[in-house]
Amino acid sequence: MVREIPCEEAARYVYGYLDGELEPETEKEFLHHVERCRKCMGVTEFERRILEFVHRSSGVEEAPEGLRDRVDRIFATAGDAGGDGG
């Protein structure tokens, strides 16, 4: 038997569920509730879509060439120094 939880408790687990961070037992209780509660199902779906949207919108930034060159030199310099005392 899965423990019945109220909406207020389910609300606290929404992000944990979407982040894949709930304990297995808690996740079971959460899903058991959400499958039977349209409001909580709606909230969960809503939060999922916003998180996906934020992730998508933040996109991929490209490091500027100049930075790339400087970082390359950091490694090159470290290599030349022969960290192990050559």
Binding site: G42, R49, A78
Partner: protein, 204 residues
Amino acid sequence: MASESSGEERRERIREECLSHIDALYGAALRMTKNERDAEDLVQETYLKAVRNLHRYREDAGCKAWLFTILTNTYIDMYRKRKRSPRKVEFDEEGATGIYDRIVDHFPGKPETGLRHSKDDLETFLSHFMADEVKAAIDDLPDIFRELIVLRDLEGFSYKECAEMLDIPIGTVMSRLHRGRKHLQEKLWDYARERGYVSEPREA
């Protein structure tokens, strides 16, 4: 001789692995510092420290998490220290509740689905936003929330990894993430209202 060349190979492998994360580091640095020059400085400093601490690098532990730990610590040392205590902000942000109810009220929903809102309503709301507006909303967040949104929602680190990087308890990660996300939603709502994407009924 043999050990020297395998040391060389290892170093080259680590170098390539480290460099493969430069775009992610720069993206996170940009969101954290909110400007390109500071972001470049932060990434450069991160790599300098990484190279100096290569002896601590363990290949099985995950290069990206290792670099992000250095980045986050460096960011906190270099930038956040300059600012005053975040206590006031923490207190002020307590009330963020998110915008689910507002979206539901704004879009009356489709009676036939039985739901108070439909997926399309939220999609319509979100479709108004340009990527730059979302980034601006993230940039507007108080530091302690923005850091976690970057580490978790943009970069996908686990609660545990976030907790280790920021040196805070997992419970704090969870509560800040919760409040930060709700707060971000409200920022998006405010942007939408300012630009007339949604109109909020006048207070009764």
